[in-house]
Symmetry: C2
Subunit: 378 residues, 2 copies
């Protein structure tokens, strides 16, 4: 028997929220309340997205009886505070990347999740849910490329800054290419089964510190260029290049192995086994979004699509649909958020010191950081 879906309270009014709310509704969720730190933003979002209640008070959302699932898309400085509060009140939580500002905040989230193991405490790393990623994972497991030698990820996109100065300009507030785009691909590495980062090297730069509207004292300090290398436990080298001073959005993930390679371009997947004369198309992302005109297009296509599929996953979970044993959907839990924070911290340190830096993840007793466990929530 299908269970009733929980009512949803949404924190934040960023473009992802404008994509997410219609999708949630489309999948049967009731979105009951929306929060923003600025009243006019909350009001505008509630009006545009037809949400019955808006507020600037956190408690007004988390204490609501008709809200059982809290979705957090606020600036990172509020991730930990809202997550911990919501879990303590007994609400399920889905939190945007990177999950707090640092390991200390992430650890608080992990700790809260461990205290309330029946609640969902999940990171919104949505690229995991893309069909080409789950197919890539499956093919790697089936030895398509043989022993993996290299994973190379390249993201080229337009500026992530808003017109005016905001937390996005500030590295310490969680802004920047590493925090916002890098976190997602570090998560993917783990999802794809590549193992954890042992040592990292990073060169984080702010190539464009001022814009037409941002300058003077309040210059941009967040990185618009991230050149990353990760040495994984299994020996695989990962190279990541993120340049957000270009136009549009493209993301290419190349996995090389002893017997061939796989290339995920956006939502597509192609590959070639050694000795074959040409690439084979393994997945083409032809899914149409036009079914609902209210879906926003402010997000890159793969991020929008990942969010949509994440919502499908949430619906299945809360409807009581049992995941199949070979389920391709594996959400990132809060301990994965902690691991990613530890990689980001090591990378920031590497960029400052110009050295390779060892990744040290704060360990909480009983938290098997990074290994997601299905039995930990209902």
């Amino acid at each position: 028997m299908a269970l009733a879906l929980p009512g949803v309270g949404v924190f934040g009014t960023c473009p992802a929220v404008y994509t997410l709310v219609p999708v949630l509704r489309d999948k049967g969720f009731l979105v009951q309340a929306i929060w923003s730190g600025r009243k006019q933003d909350a009001e505008a979002a509630a009006s545009k997205l037809c949400i019955p209640f808006f507020t600037t008070q956190i408690d007004d959302v988390v204490l609501r009886k008709d809200v059982d699932l809290i979705i957090i898309f606020t600036p990172p400085s509020l991730h930990s505070q809202i997550s911990v509060k919501a879990l303590r009140i007994g609400k399920h939580v889905v939190c945007d990347r990177p999950g707090g500002l640092n390991q200390t905040e992430s650890l608080r989230m992990v700790r809260a999740a461990a205290y309330y193991p029946t609640l969902l405490a999940m990171m919104a790393f949505s690229l995991r849910f893309l069909p080409n990623m789950s197919l890539m994972k499956k093919l790697i497991k089936e030895n398509y490329v043989g022993q993996i030698t290299l994973c190379d990820i390249r993201i080229v996109c337009e500026s992530m800054l808003e017109r005016k100065y905001s937390w996005l300009c500030d590295s310490a507030m969680g802004g920047g290419a590493l925090s916002l785009l890098g976190s997602n691909v570090i998560d993917l590495l783990h999802y794809l089964g590549f193992g954890k980062a042992v040592r990292v090297h990073a060169n984080l730069r702010t190539l464009i510190p001022t814009t037409d509207n941002i300058g003077g004292i309040r210059q941009v300090s967040s990185d618009d260029l991230a050149v990353l290398q990760l040495q994984l436990a299994g020996g695989t080298l990962v190279t990541v290049f993120i340049n957000s001073d270009m136009a549009g959005f493209s993301q290419d993930i190349v996995v090389c192995g002893t017997d061939g390679y796989l290339v995920a371009q956006g939502g597509d997947l192609k590959g070639r086994k050694t000795r074959e004369l040409r690439d084979e198309v393994l997945y083409l992302d032809v899914e149409d979004f036009n079914s609902s005109e209210s879906f926003s297009s402010a997000l890159p296509r793969i991020h929008m699509k990942g969010l949509m599929r994440m919502v499908s996953f949430l619906r299945d979970r809360f409807s009581g649909v049992e995941p199949q044993t070979d389920s391709i959907y594996e959400p990132a839990l809060f301990d994965q958020g902690l691991y990613i924070q530890s990689v980001i911290e090591a990378m920031r340190k590497s960029s400052e010191t110009r050295q390779w830096v060892k990744v040290v993840t704060s360990q909480e007793e009983g938290s098997d950081s990074g290994e997601t466990s299905w039995s930990s929530y209902a």
Copy 2:
């Protein structure tokens, strides 16, 4: 009055030679002799390329009266020896990348060139001669992208190894992605006017150390992956990624600046000024090679094309055509080869020590390393 073109002696029988000889002939050069260390290779090349004389003795070519221009496409271990000998005998020299095995050998070449200033002593860095590169240089000079913030170069190609074990497998013999492909792009950086590398960081890997035919004791030691960063004197950061474990050949050069970007893909060029809504096509490489069916296709298109244009440059020089003051053709002389060797050496050291390493170029009195001087030869 047009001067007679010098007779040419060619050293080496690599694929570039099979491209080069028909082009030389097409432009009016007489190719008089070919050398290889293996008699059967010399004989086969002479026969296939209709060259009247072949030999395994270096002197047999450099001492020939009908040879005044020596073109060296041998393994790098012979670059210095043949170059120096040829210059001493009074022959013009064009030498393939990287120009010797190390700075010591390159320095000998620079010294010899300095002793015989009337002779051409030129490195065959042929990508400089591509039309999209000279256009990129011109547009950068005209401030198309504003102040340059980043140059990112990405080469993805198939394995450079031959079927059997050869010097290409051996890093110490000049094999590998850095030496063979990296050298060419380091040269381009200088050609494009970006200034010299002050510090470098490199991660050189041999991801595939054995092949079907190469294994056992004689494993591959040369790098098939080169992840490079160069901090230039002017402050520009350069990132270079070369992966030769894929298929085909692609080379993308992205130059970002405060006012826009330029992207050279293969032989094409596109760009976008900040605030424009789309990229503009600045150059399309539509030139047809089919005019001569004997042109080999074993080389990547841009390398083949670069060589063809380099030969045109050589013809103009030796015909006595004066270079225009705004000439886009600037050959790399031997001191540029020395500079590039110094960058390569610093990169190898960086890869070993995992540190950023300062570039130290051996200085020869009177050699203004890296600055090409037109007056130095007739």
